[in-house]
C-alpha cells in the first residue's frame, strides 16, 4: 500500500480552531475522517473562507490528492466521476468511484435508430438487493470518418440525453468538430495518440476537456505521451494502454496492473490517472455471419478482467441482460466497502402488517442471504415474520454444511426472540437449503417445520399457495 496521509499529517494543516462547522467535534476528529476519505475537504468551510488559510489549503489539497486523480465526464447529476482511487487492493481501504460503463453508439445511426439505441442504454436496469443497477454513459464512435457527420451526431446525441459522452475518433479533425459542437457537455475526448498528440491536445486545452492518452505500443510510450500532453497544459487525462482480448488478454491485464501499481504503490504521479479499457475491441474480430453470442461472450470476459484489474471506465457494445448483468454485479461486488460486515444482527424481523396468524420463516444472518430474502419478501408485499438465526455470517447452505446452522441454534433463536409470544401457531418455515435439519429442528424446538423453497425468489408463490399452515 502506498503512503496515504495519516491524521497527524493532516491535522497541522487544518485551522485547529475546533469550530465544529464541519459537524465533527474537533479538528482532530475531522483529520481522522479525512485520512479515511470519508469526508470531503470542502466540509471545512473556514479553510475556504478565510484568506489566512490559503497556504494550508493548498498544501492540504496536495497532501490528500488521491494517487489516482479523479476526472469528471459530463455535467449535472448524471456526470461520471472516474478514478480518484486510493489503493491497489480493495482490502487496503476501499475502491471509490465505481467503474463507469459506456456503451457505444455509431455516428452513422440516424433518426429513430439513434434515439432507440440511446433509450435502450438509458433504460437498461436491474434491481439487485435494493439498488437499481445501471449503465453510465454513451461512447459516440466516429464510424462515418466524416467530421461533419460526427459533429452532427454529437449534437443530436447531446439533445437526446444528459448522460456523459465520450467522443471517440482517432482523427483530430473529427474530434475538433464534435468537441466544438458539444464542449459545454464536458465530453471525454478519445483519443490523443503518438501521432496526433499535438492536434488532439490542443483541442482539449482549447475547450478545457478531459482527454484520453492512447498508446498501445508500450507503457514507456504511454508515459511519454502523458508527459507531453501535460507539458501542453492538458490537466485532465485518462490513460488507455490498449485492450487486447483472447491471446492478448495477459498483456492487457499486465499493462493495467503495472500502471495502477505504479500510481498507488510506486507513487509514480505521471501515471496517476484513471484507466480506460475498451472491451468493445473484440468486435473487430467478429466474422460476418458468425453468431454474435460468441463475440459477446469474449466481450464479457474481457470486460470482467478489466473490472477486476483496475479500469475506471470501460467501453462496451453489448446491451443484453445476460452480458451486462454479470458485469454490473461484479462491479457492485468489488466496489462494496470491505469493512461492511458479513453478518447482520440476529433477531425477529417483521414485514407488512403482521398479526398472530402471520407465517414465520427463518434464515441466516449472512448479510447477502438476509438482504436477498428481505428484498424478496418486500417485493412480494406479504405480511410475515422472519427469524434471523446467528450463523456467524454464513449462508444457509454453508452454515448447514459447517454446522453453524443446527436444530439447536434454530430452537435457541425461537426461544430468545420470543416468537411464540407473537404468533398463536407453532409452524416454522425453513429455507429449502436447510431441509436436512428440519426433522431434528421439530424434535428440539417443538415447532412444526415446513420446508420452504430452495431459493427465496420462491417465497411469494410458496406463501400464496397457503400450504404452510395446512395440517
Amino acid at each position: 500500500m502506498g503512503k496515504l496521509p495519516g491524521p497527524l499529517d493532516i491535522y497541522p494543516l487544518l485551522p485547529g480552531t475546533n469550530c465544529e462547522e464541519c459537524g465533527e467535534a474537533n479538528c482532530m476528529a475531522f483529520a481522522t475522517k479525512l485520512a479515511e476519505y470519508t469526508v470531503k475537504l470542502t466540509a471545512c468551510a473556514p479553510l475556504y473562507r478565510e484568506a489566512k488559510y490559503v497556504k494550508k489549503l493548498i498544501n492540504l489539497e496536495d497532501l490528500i490528492r488521491p494517487p489516482v486523480r479523479e476526472v469528471v465526464i459530463g455535467t449535472g447529476e448524471k456526470a461520471a466521476s472516474i478514478g480518484g482511487k486510493l489503493v491497489l487492493y480493495r482490502h487496503d481501504l476501499r475502491y471509490s468511484n465505481p467503474i463507469a460503463f459506456f456503451v457505444d453508439v455509431a455516428d452513422t445511426l440516424e433518426g429513430d435508430a439513434l434515439s432507440q439505441r440511446v433509450k435502450a442504454i438509458e433504460d437498461w436496469t436491474y434491481m439487485y438487493i435494493g439498488q437499481n443497477l445501471r449503465l453510465d454513459g454513451i461512447a459516440l464512435r466516429g464510424v462515418s470518418q466524416d467530421p461533419q457527420t460526427f459533429a452532427k451526431a454529437a449534437k443530436k446525441l447531446s439533445s437526446l440525453t444528459d448522460w456523459p459522452i465520450i467522443l471517440c475518433s482517432l482523427n483530430p479533425e473529427m474530434l475538433a468538430a464534435a468537441a466544438k459542437a458539444i464542449a459545454d457537455k464536458r465530453p471525454l475526448l478519445y483519443a490523443a495518440t503518438l501521432d496526433t498528440w499535438s492536434d488532439a491536445g490542443e483541442i482539449a486545452v482549447k475547450h478545457n476537456l478531459p482527454l484520453v492518452a492512447y498508446a498501445p505500443s508500450g507503457l514507456d510510450n504511454l508515459a511519454s505521451l502523458v508527459n507531453t500532453l501535460r507539458a501542453m497544459g492538458v490537466e485532465e487525462l485518462v490513460l488507455d494502454p490498449g485492450t487486447a482480448s483472447r491471446t492478448g488478454l495477459g498483456t492487457t491485464v499486465d499493462n493495467f496492473t503495472q500502471l495502477r501499481r505504479a500510481a498507488t504503490i510506486g507513487e509514480n504521479e505521471l501515471v496517476g490517472y484513471p484507466l480506460l479499457a475498451t472491451p468493445i475491441s473484440v468486435w473487430a474480430d467478429h466474422k460476418e455471419g458468425a453468431a454474435p453470442e460468441l463475440t459477446k461472450w469474449d466481450e464479457v470476459l474481457t470486460a470482467a478482467s478489466m473490472i477486476v484489474r483496475y479500469s475506471d471506465a470501460v467501453v462496451v457494445h453489448s446491451l443484453d441482460m445476460w452480458t451486462n448483468l454479470p458485469l454490473t454485479f461484479l462491479r457492485s461486488n468489488l466496489y462494496t466497502d470491505p469493512v461492511k460486515p458479513v453478518a447482520v444482527e440476529a433477531g425477529l424481523q417483521e414485514f407488512g402488517d403482521v398479526d398472530a396468524d402471520s407465517p414465520v420463516m427463518y434464515t441466516t444472518n449472512f448479510a447477502l442471504t438476509y438482504f436477498t430474502v428481505e428484498s424478496d419478501i418486500k417485493q412480494a408485499g406479504v405480511n410475515a415474520y422472519l427469524l434471523v438465526v446467528d450463523t456467524e455470517g454464513m449462508s444457509v447452505q454453508s452454515a448447514v454444511a459447517g454446522r453453524r446452522l443446527t436444530a439447536e441454534k434454530v430452537a435457541e433463536a425461537l426461544e430468545e426472540y420470543k416468537v411464540s409470544e407473537k404468533v398463536k401457531h407453532k409452524i416454522l418455515i425453513s429455507p429449502g437449503m436447510a431441509a436436512r435439519i428440519s426433522g431434528e429442528t421439530e424434535e428440539v424446538s417443538g415447532w412444526a417445520v415446513k420446508v420452504g423453497p430452495q431459493d427465496s425468489s420462491g417465497i411469494p408463490k410458496y406463501l400464496q399457495m397457503g400450504k404452510w399452515n395446512e395440517e
Binding site: L170, A223, V300, V308, L327, L330, G402, A435, D455
Partner: protein, 397 residues
C-alpha cells in the same frame, strides 16, 4: 496593489503562500474581492502562470515507466496431486499447483509457477441441477464412472472430484465401503488424478474420508474437506496413507490459519490445500475474492500458515438465481448460467485461485482458455489493436 495591507493584518505572502513567486504586476486586486473570491482567484492566477509558461512541445517528451516490482520473500508451496505408476499410483499423469513467488498474473514480476487446474464435479447419485447444467449430464447421472469419463474425454477436465454425497444420513446413508467401491470404479474409468469429496455430514465425513484415503493408497488424492469442526480423522487418514487435505474454512483468515496449524500436527505442509469458501457472483463473491487475495498476499509476504495453493468450489456460482432462473427477460439461461460460472471463476483466477471445482462444460472450456490467454505476455504489434472507433458492428448485435 492599492489596498491597505497593514489594516487587514496580513501580507500577500501570508495570503498566497507558495504562490508568492507569481507575477502579480499586471493584476489589480481589491482585498475585499480577494477575500470573497480567494479560491478561484488563486486558481486562476496559478493557471494563468502555468499557461504563460507553456511552450508547445516540438516533439514527444520522453518518459519511462519503471516496472513497479514488489518484494515477496514468501513462496507458495507446490503441491502435486495424483501419482503415476512409477510413483506408486495408477494415474497417467499428475497435476501440480502453487509454487508462486508473486501475486497472480503480475507477469511483469514473475509468471505463475504452475497454471491453475480444473476439477470437474461428479456426484455418486443423481442430484438436482440447473437445467443448463443437467442437459450435459443427463445420460450419466446414475453412473459416476461414466460421468467422470465424460468430463475428461469430452469436457477436458484436468482432474475429477467424486463427491460421495450418498453417504449423507439424509441422502441414502450409504456405507464407507460402498463409497470405496464408487471410488474404485472412477479410478478405473479415468486416468487423471481424482479428488474425493465428502457429503458434509458431521458423523459420516470422518469414516468416509478415512476409507477413501485407504482405497486411494499411493494415488495422492485430495481429501475434501477438513473443517474446523471435523479435521482429526481426516488428518490422521491423510498422514497414514500419504494423501492431501483440503483445509476448508468460511471466509475467515484466522480460522484458516488455525485449522492449518492444527492439521500440521499430523500432516506435512506439502499435504495441504486451502479453501476459504467460494460465494457466487452477486451473492458474496467480494468476500471470497478478498479473502483469497489477502491470503495469497500474506503468504507471499512471509506468513507460512498461508503459503498454500487455493481451491474454489466454483460450482457455487449456480447458487445465484440469475444463473438459472427461468426468466426470458434476462436472456437465455443457456448463456446466463455458464457466463455466471465463468465470471465467478475469472475473478477468483485473478485473485490467485489454483484449483477450480466446476460443472458447466462451457465454463470449464472458458476457464481453460483464460488460463492460456493470461499466461502470455508479449509485445503486441500495434496493428493488432484495431481502431474500434470506426469498425462496423452488425446491426442488432
Amino acid at each position: 496593489m492599492t489596498s491597505n495591507e497593514e489594516g487587514r493584518g496580513q501580507s500577500l505572502d501570508d495570503i498566497f503562500g507558495d504562490f508568492a513567486e507569481l507575477e502579480l504586476e499586471n493584476v489589480t486586486i481589491q482585498v475585499d474581492e480577494l477575500k470573497l473570491a480567494l479560491r478561484p482567484m488563486v486558481q486562476q492566477l496559478a493557471q494563468a502562470a502555468a499557461k504563460a509558461a507553456i511552450e508547445m512541445p516540438k516533439s514527444l517528451i520522453p518518459a519511462q515507466l519503471k516496472a513497479p516490482l514488489g518484494e515477496y520473500p514468501g513462496v507458495i508451496r507446490e503441491i502435486t496431486i495424483g501419482a503415476t505408476k512409477k510413483e506408486g499410483g495408477s494415474r497417467s499423469n499428475t497435476v501440480t499447483i502453487g509454487g508462486h513467488t508473486a501475486p497472480a498474473w503480475d507477469l511483469f514480476q514473475s509468471p505463475p509457477k504452475n497454471p491453475p487446474v480444473i476439477a470437474a464435479d461428479v456426484f455418486d447419485m443423481p442430484i438436482p441441477l440447473a437445467k443448463a447444467v443437467k442437459t450435459h449430464y443427463r445420460e450419466v447421472l446414475e453412473d459416476p464412472a461414466e460421468w467422470a469419463k465424460l468430463c475428461v474425454d469430452k469436457f477436458g477436465a484436468d482432474v475429477i472430484t467424486i463427491h460421495l454425497i450418498s453417504t449423507d444420513r439424509q441422502l441414502g446413508d450409504t456405507s464407507p465401503a460402498a463409497a470405496a467401491k464408487t471410488i474404485e470404479e472412477v479410478l478405473q474409468a479415468v486416468k487423471v488424478p481424482i479428488l474425493i469429496g465428502s457429503a458434509g455430514d458431521p458423523e459420516k465425513d470422518g469414516p468416509v474420508l478415512a476409507k477413501a484415503a485407504e482405497v486411494c493408497e499411493g494415488e495422492r488424492t485430495l481429501l475434501c474437506s477438513a473443517t474446523i469442526d471435523i479435521y482429526e480423522p481426516i488428518a490422521v487418514a491423510a498422514k497414514e496413507h500419504d494423501q492431501i487435505v483440503l483445509s476448508w474454512t468460511s471466509l475467515d483468515i484466522n480460522d484458516q490459519k488455525e485449522l492449518n496449524r492444527r492439521l500440521i500436527e499430523w500432516v506435512t505442509p506439502d499435504q495441504i490445500v486451502i479453501d476459504p469458501t467460494t460465494a457466487a457472483l452477486g451473492y458474496g463473491l467480494e468476500y471470497a475474492f478478498t479473502m483469497m487475495q489477502r491470503m495469497r498476499l500474506a503468504g507471499l509476504l512471509g506468513d507460512s500458515e498461508l503459503q498454500y495453493p487455493i481451491s474454489s468450489g466454483t460450482t457455487n456460482a449456480w447458487a445465484a438465481r440469475e444463473a438459472w432462473l427461468k426468466a426470458p427477460e434476462l436472456g437465455p439461461r443457456e448463456l446466463r448460467g455458464p457466463i455466471w460460472e465463468s465470471v465467478t471463476a475469472l475473478s477468483l483466477l485473478l485473485a490467485g485461485n489454483d484449483l477450480f471445482m466446476m460443472m458447466h462444460p462451457a465454463a470449464m472450456k472458458t476457464v481453460h482458455d483464460l488460463i492460456e490467454w493470461l499466461r502470455e505476455r508479449r509485445p503486441i504489434p500495434v496493428e493488432e489493436y484495431a481502431d474500434w472507433t470506426t469498425i462496423d458492428i452488425p446491426e442488432g448485435a
